[in-house]
């Protein structure tokens, strides 16, 4: 279970949110909403452990993630704004190396399958530079298919995807939830996942 307790986020001398508490349990999808600059990405980065909250703490199965560190990172998959894809590596290499950095060695065959499933059949061996923006996003998203993480943290996963890819991504998300996974995501797009009640966390309007 992911639990955040009285989080406060300060950027520069602005307080973006304060006293933010929520929890995510197995099978939950938490949709973080809010205007631009309301601190959505900051919240997600806090949940990954990249950013330290100004106040409060984040717990994973009852323990502070700063204490757990590696144990928590193993259980978590984060796909951020920046895809984390190297233009000079092929889609296949990108996927394999990104998984390896998370302690998950996947065989070439698994990688081929995942890329095929996400709709990159025939493009596995192209340098990522040669792919379109949407295809590049798919290489990043392919990590979800090979990942064994319980908690997925996704920042705008639907950006730059066409309708077919959006549908497919929704299926992938639904599958993950049905396996008792957890998802925290932000998006400005409409999406629907059948049989899942999506919980909404609204960070509201940004103060100007």
């Amino acid at each position: 279970m992911l639990e955040s307790i009285e989080l406060e986020c300060v950027r520069g001398d602005r307080t973006l949110f304060t006293n933010l508490s929520f929890s995510v349990t197995a099978g939950d999808l938490l949709h973080v909403r809010g205007a631009n600059g309301s601190g959505k990405t900051s919240l997600l980065r806090m949940l990954t452990g990249l950013m330290l909250p100004a106040e409060g703490q984040i717990q994973w199965n009852g323990e502070n993630i700063r204490k757990l560190r590696d144990e928590y990172q193993q259980d978590m998959l984060y796909i951020g704004h920046l895809p984390g894809i190297k233009g000079d590596l092929t889609a296949l290499e990108n996927l394999r190396i990104n998984s390896a950095f998370n302690g998950l060695e996947i065989s070439e065959e698994e990688a081929w399958n995942a890329l095929g499933q996400i709709g990159l059949k025939g493009r596995e061996d192209l340098p990522a530079r040669a792919l379109s923006q949407g295809q590049g996003r798919r290489v990043a998203l392919a990590r979800m298919l090979v990942s064994k993480a319980k908690l997925w943290i996704l920042d705008e996963p639907f950006v730059a995807l066409d309708t077919r890819a959006v549908t497919m991504l929704q299926t992938v998300l639904a599958h993950h939830l049905s396996r008792q996974g957890m998802i925290v995501l932000t998006t400005h797009q409409d999406f629907s996942i059948p049989d899942v009640d999506e919980r909404i966390l609204d960070l509201g309007q940004a103060e100007l």
């Binding site: 300060v10 950027r11 520069g12 001398d13 330290l52």
Partner: protein, 250 residues
């Protein structure tokens, strides 16, 4: 006892409590610094005897040596505050580290400047690559690096933590640098004259030097507190207690 409780100590780390207390302390440090300077200078110029080798020119030592001591001591204190800020994430210690740096850099500069003024009549040149002068110069670079990194990063949290880490790297390296420079200096001894040939010290000379050191020390604390107060006001400008303070015009 109240002073043994954690809460008692924690309250001093809150900018709100610290601001008025620091305000009350500043005059004391500044005035004692001034008085010590006057006595110290009197000792330096009128009580301490004329040196039989160097005549009167050696008297610049009474500024030079205390400034050099302070430059090193302040770097050390700055690193302690920086590491406290890095480990316990206390804003006040970050501010203290940042407030000490300019004063430390100024004392380093004074030490170099007076050193070179002293060098002219003594060795006939403004600059010698003496081990101590060279290390002092490198110390000045380290101060500059700290100040520049702090200034270059926009986010105050990140600036404080990054510069704190840099200060720690610097303090680990400082002895290595000093030792290397000293070694280098003995290797190339022929050309230079060592500062070690300073005159044997009379008791009054030592007193004068101590007085000046304490004077500089008091001044450093006073000025650092003033800088921290300014920074508190700037960072907490939206806090209610600052608003009240400004309204009351104090």
């Amino acid at each position: 006892m109240k002073i043994f409780t954690k809460a008692y100590w924690l309250q001093w780390s809150s900018p709100k409590t610290f601001y008025p207390t620091a305000g009350k302390m500043i005059p004391w440090f500044m005035i004692s610094g001034l008085i010590l300077t006057i006595i110290g200078l009197y000792y330096s110029f009128f009580v301490a005897p004329t040196d039989y080798q160097q005549g009167e020119s050696y008297r610049i030592m009474f500024i030079h040596v205390p400034a050099a001591w302070m430059s090193m001591w302040l770097y050390f204190v700055m690193c302690i505050y920086a590491s406290i800020g890095l480990i316990w994430r206390t804003r006040l210690s970050d501010m203290m580290a940042g407030a000490i740096a300019p004063t430390g850099a100024i004392f380093t500069f004074i030490a170099l400047w007076t050193g070179s003024l002293w060098g002219k009549p003594t060795w006939g040149t403004y600059w010698v690559w003496d081990a101590r002068l060279t290390s002092e110069l490198i110390l000045l670079f380290l101060y500059f690096g700290f100040i520049a990194l702090r200034a270059a990063i926009d986010d105050p949290q990140r600036a404080a933590r990054a510069s704190a880490l840099l200060a720690l790297v610097g303090v680990i390296n400082l002895p290595i640098i000093y030792f290397s420079v000293k070694w280098w200096n003995t290797l190339h001894q022929g050309a230079s004259i060592s500062i070690d040939s300073a005159p044997t010290m009379a008791a009054t000379m030592f007193t004068a030097m101590l007085l000046m050191t304490f004077a500089f020390w008091m001044y450093s604390i006073g000025i650092a507190l003033m800088r921290v107060r300014n920074e508190i006001l700037e960072k907490e400008k939206n806090a209610s207690w600052v608003q009240e303070l400004l309204r009351d015009g104090k």
